[in-house]
Every structure is written in C-alpha cells, then in structure tokens.
C-alpha cells in the first residue's frame, strides 16, 4: 500500500511520525520530548506535535543552511562582491503562498484533533475536580464518593525552605498525594473542573491535556485511559504561594480492581454525604 493510498489522515500522520520520530519516543524517555501518554487523545497530540516539529526542523534546516552558506560564501574577506538586486514580486508571492499551504496542511489534522478533544458526549462516568488553595477535591458524581487530595507529607516536609532533606531521598518528590484519584481503564471518563477560590488548572501529561479550573465555571474534558498504571501531574495555573505543591496522582485500574476499590471506599465512608461538596475552610488568604 503506497503512502498516498492512506485516505485516513491519521494513518499518514502515524506512519510519517513513526518513521521520522523513531527517536522521538526514546527522546521522551530522556526527558527531551513530549511523552506519548496513555489515551487515544494523548497519542493524537503526540503525533501532531511530531508533525509540526518535523515541519519546523525541515524549514529550519533550509533557512539556517542558507544563512550559514551566505556567511561563508558571501564574505567580503573572501573577495565576494555585492549584487545590487533588491526585489522580486514573483519570489515574494512564492514564499508567501508556500508557507500558507504548509499551514493548511497542519491545520487540517489539528482541526480533527480539536474536535476529538471537545467531544465529551457518551461518557461512562463523571468526576468533578475542584481546585483549592492548595489541594484538589474529587467527587465521583455517579458513586457518591468524594475526598480531598493533598501533597504527601514527606514531600511537603522536604520542600520547606532549608529543610535539609535531599529531594532525591523522597519517593516521587512533589508528585505524591495522600489520596489518589482512582479510575477504571477503558472507560470514557468525563472530567468537570472548577475551583473554590482562584484559578487553578488540572494537568496530567499522560492523559494529553490540561484544563483550567475556574471559580464560577464548570469546564468539561474527557479521557479514556488504555493502560493500567499510575500517572502524575501538577497544577498548571499560578494560584498563589503553593502553586507548585498541589500535585495530582491518577491510578488507572482494571475494571475488576476498580469495582473493588469503589465498594471498599463506599463502605469506609458510609457516613459521608456525597452532595456536601463545599468545605468550610475554602477562604482566600490575605
């Protein structure tokens, strides 16, 4: 099957990026590249990122190559004499139209990806995420479970100014919390994000997106995690002094393990009223 016979644009992108981006995944492991993540959307985003990066690298090689060549070949010290031509309408049109076409080539898959992200319909479950200064609150709207998620104590002690604790000795330093957000794999999860005081943002890179958590707004996003595992993220909107210290940890479990967790958690919090969301202490600090 030749390349042009891929009518589905996703296959073209996947194949191109697989070829050009073979080192891309390896680079992600060295902390050099965006990771692929574990959802269909995160993979789409990764492929789009590699496509655009690829275009930029190619254009860069051409333009910087011409600059380097000029610096060497057109030096006065090497005897170069300056031409005096200084305009060409034809060339101006060409280097306006060609970039424009390249942009359209990028805009098409980007539009598809955005439509994919914003299609929150037919979700299997809904979790409401509320940002506070400086912790997260999670509420499973279909299950009647809710809890706060705050930075783990060992990280919190180690990060104090001049604590004397070496961060390398703290497991998952700044990326561990007391209560993980537990979700099932293979299910479309709708996330509602909001906040109780200032603007925060909920971001788990492995899911492929972040969304602002804004007081007075309810934003919708979705994710379908394909691989069981633990995925870590952080608040991604400046929210005050401890903005860097309100991490997110998501545990994606198999369907059976998730059902077991739900049962166990419900039993343990039998007296909690799932609809009493607003905590007393969400007061802005002066």
């Amino acid at each position: 099957m030749t390349f042009s016979k891929f009518s589905n644009p996703w296959r073209k992108i996947a194949l191109t990026s697989a070829i050009l981006g073979l080192p891309g995944t390896a680079m992600a492991e060295w902390g050099l590249n965006l990771p692929r993540g574990v959802t269909p959307y995160s993979n789409t985003v990764y492929d789009l990122h590699m496509l655009i990066l690829g275009v930029c690298v190619v254009v860069g090689i051409v333009v910087f190559g011409l600059i380097l060549y000029s610096i060497i070949a057109f030096r006065k010290s090497a005897g170069a004499k300056a031409a005096q031509w200084h305009e060409s309408t034809k060339v101006e049109i060409l280097w306006t139209l060609i970039p424009f076409m390249i942009l359209i080539g990028m805009a098409v898959p980007a539009t598809h990806a955005l439509i994919m992200m914003e299609n929150v319909s037919n979700a299997d479950m809904t979790i409401k995420v509320t940002g506070y200064q400086w912790k997260w609150h999670y509420q499973y709207l279909d299950e009647g479970i809710n809890f706060f998620s705050t930075i783990a104590n060992d990280s919190n002690m180690a990060r104090q100014l001049k604590s004397g604790v070496d961060p390398n000795t703290v497991p998952n330093y700044l990326l561990e919390v007391d209560n993980h957000l537990v979700v099932p794999v293979g299910k479309k999860i709708r996330f509602l994000t909001t906040a109780g005081d200032v603007i925060h943002a909920w971001w788990v890179p492995a899911l492929g997106w972040k969304r602002d958590a804004i007081p007075g707004y309810i934003n919708e996003s979705w994710a379908e995690i394909q691989t069981p595992g633990t995925y870590r993220g952080q608040c991604a909107e400046l929210c005050g002094k401890d903005h860097g210290f309100m991490p997110i940890v998501v545990d994606a479990l198999s369907a059976e393990d998730y059902a077991a967790w739900i049962a166990k958690t419900k039993a343990a919090t039998q007296h909690a009223d799932a609809d009493a969301v607003v905590p007393a202490a969400a007061v802005a600090q002066q």
Binding site: L32, I52, I67, K76, A80, Q84, D212, A236
Partner: protein, 533 residues
Amino acid sequence: MSEAATHHEHDHHDHHPSGISRWLTTTNHKDIGTMYLIFSLIMFFIGGTMAMVIRAELFQPGLQFVDPQFFNSMTTMHALVMIFGAVMPAWTGFANWMIPMMIGAPDMALPRLNNWSFWILPFAFTLLLSTVFMPGGGPAGGWTMYPPLVLQTGAAFPFLIFAVHFMGASSIAGAINIIATVFNMRAPGMTLMKLPLFVWTWIITAFLLIASIPVLAGAVTMLLTDKFFGTAFFSAAGGGDPVMFQHIFWFFGHPEVYILILPAFGIVSAIIPTFARKPLFGYASMVYASAAIAFLSFIVWAHHMFTVGMPLAGELFFMYTTVLIAVPTGVKVFNWVATMWQSSMTFETPMLFAIAFLVLFTIGGFSGLMLGVTPVDFQYHDTYFVVAHFHYVLVTGAVYALMAGTYFWLPKWTGHMYDEGLGKLHFWLSTISVNVLFFPQHFLGLAGMPRRIPDYSVQFADFNMVSSIGGFVFGLSQLLFVVVVVKCVKGGAKATDQVWEGAHGLEWTLSSPPPYHSFNTPPDPATIEGGMR
C-alpha cells in the same frame, strides 16, 4: 551626498542649562533618548538580578534560598521590569535619538510632552519596586495579574495598579509624539516609501500602543474597583467573570508583544543591508508584512488562553489566525536572508547580533507556531515550553536587536568607535550562554515541568541545573556590555560621519556626534534621492 548644509551649521542655541537642571528640563530628542536608554539599562540589570534569584533557586530541587511567595514576586516583577522598564523604554530611546535624524527633522513634534513621557517612568518604577519592601512583599500573581489571585495581593496592590497606569501613559504619549513627528515633520523628498524600515516599524508600533494600552488601563482599573470599590467585574460570586479579565488583558497583551518586537525588525533591517553592502531585499514587502503582522496581532489574543474552556469555534478561530502570523513573519525572515545572498559581508559586532537574531528569533518563531496549534497547546500551555518560546523571541529577539542597535549607533551618538574586541567577546559569551540558558527549557516543558514554580520534581533537575549555569554566565556577560558602553562614551578611536562602509540614511550624513540641534534646516532633497537605498 551633500554635507555642506549640515556640517557648517552654526548652532546659535548652544546655551542650555547644565547639571541636573539640564536633564530634568530638557526637550531635546537626543538628551531624552539618552535618558531613556540609561534608564532602560539600569532596569535591565534590576530585572536581570531578579532572574538570577529565580535561576539560583531553581539550580537544584528543594528550596534553598527564598520562600515560595517571594519567588512568585520575583517572577512577577522580573517580567514587569523587563517588559515595561527595559525593553519598551529602550525602543522609545532609540526612537527619540534616531527618528528625527532619519527623517531630516530638527526634533520631535511635541518636545515638552517628550520630556514628561520620560520622567513619568522613574516615578512609576519607584512605586513598583518599592513594593518589594512592603508588608506582604511585591505583587506575586504573575505579570498577567489574573483575578481572583491578584486580588489577594496585599499592600502592594494599589502601587502595582498605579505603576501600570503611569507606564501606560508614558507609552501612549510617546506613541502620539512619534506619529505626529513622522506624519508632519519629514524633510521634503522624504516620502513614506523612502523611510528607513526602523521608522516604519515604529509608526506601526505607535498605532498598536495607542490601540492597546488604554485596554490595559481599563483592565487594571476594573481590578482596582473590584478590590476597593465593591464592583464584581471578575468575581463569579458577584455575577462577574474571571475569564473576562483574561480576554481584556490579552487583547492588550498580544499587540504588546508585537510592540516589543517590531522596532527590532526595523533595526535588523538597517543593520543587515549595511554590513552586507547590499540594499534591503523587498522593501515594500517588508512594510506590508509589518503592517499585516500588526493587523493580525489584534485577532489572535485568545491563544494565550486556550485551556480556559472556550467554545470549539473560538478555539479553531484563534488557532487559524495565530498560525497565520507565521506567513508575514516568514516573509520578513526570507527577505533578510535574501539581502545576505550574493552580498559582501563583514562581521562587526552589530552584524553578529543581527545574524544571531535572525537564527534565534526564528527558533522562537517555530516554538510559537507549535504553541499556536490548539490541541497540542493543551500540553504545552503554562509549562517551560512557553517560557522557552518567549525568552527566545524577547531575549535573542528584542534584546539582541537592542544590543545590535546600540553597537551600530554608539559611534554616531558618541563620536567614538567602541572597543570591537570587547564587543565580540560580549557577543560570543552572551550567545553561547543564552542558548545554554533557554534551549533546555523546551525539553523541561515537554517533559512536564509547569511554569511559575519555585521547586520541581527530581526528573527535571539536570536541565534546570544546566539552564541556571547558562543564566549566571549570561547575566555576568552583560557587565561587559556596560564596560563597552561606558568606555565608548568616555573615548575611543574617532568615528567618521558615515562610520560604516555600507551605511545609508540621513543620520550618517551628520557628524559623529551630531550637533545638539541637527537639521535646523532640512537636508537637500538630492541627498535623500541619492543614497537612501
């Protein structure tokens, strides 16, 4: 080129006050330009010191030096000082010094307003910088001042708002002055399409300032009334909308970044043809491309807010308009490269900075293009990828053009050649260290490091350490720049009128330094006809 009229001018108005009085009351565009440039250099070092505090804290994981609140005030103030105190006043300083000379005018159209525009700035920055010493410290909600967080600012809050108002007023007044000057005081024969590109880019910048700064003023005034006068513009509980602030702020904020870069394009368009000994390729296209960039800059603002929860149609619209800006910007880059093609180049310090600008600003442009693609921006937004992008376009873009312009025109301003060896040393130290400082930040952002955090998880440690080392070297290297400038002001080899073999433009027909009042009589139109391209 006719030199008779300019050289043998007898300046009958040489008696001006001396000492402090001179500088406080001067209405001379050269004096005012000098004051703007010295003020800008001081602010550059203040903002740079704040950056050194930031990079020192980020050198290793863990908190070693400052608490998180102070760190946030450093990132906030660093940006405010660099944008409003270093780069914008520097451009105004260049405009003051060069525009009258470039168009054959004796001074700016509104000289007293010009004096006032400058002196507002030291007052505004005293207000702003004093907040660091107040209870609660300086503002720490980011230079973007998003509510509700910014409303949690303590005693510093009204000082922040008033400082922003004063800086804005200074910019608006300066912009009015530049437009009035260029449209009314060009010498006979200096038609609009003969203007040096630096003047064109400043005209366009001036219109952007007049359109956008009042919007900023409105936004911060609403913050003030929300805090002190019971309004609820940005409070959901009161029926308002925090996101509305972001729309209003970025409607100013995006044209603002083009305000920061357009004069840089003008300077590079003067320097490359000079040291290539070849006319600028595609003058008319360069003018139209600059105007296109300015027009587009008004319809892209929400790309700073892609994660806020906009409707799909909005996200698509802003993605399309944002990536479109790559087209006129690309045209400009290609025109500069075409100027170098089949030219005859030498590589004095101004040209080194201009070529570095061409390469490194383009890298910043590439990361900007990536950021403009909404679905992927959901990963990049509010990470170090954004920090890398804007530092490439602002430091290796705007600041490099400022350095290039300074080296280019110092001999004209002072009458002395600067020390070329020191200049080249400054260039190489800066260029190597600035890339060590900012390039790894792309990787940090892609690997998942958010911005505006004083401490980070250990997988980000290596690149942060590398970046900080680059930062310390870059910061120290700028002291060399001060040495070069001070040394040049005090003395050096005598500069000719034309200074550079390939220089064209009315300013190069004047003596080095030019008379205190130049072009009291307009230049000969034959001069303009003969050597402008």
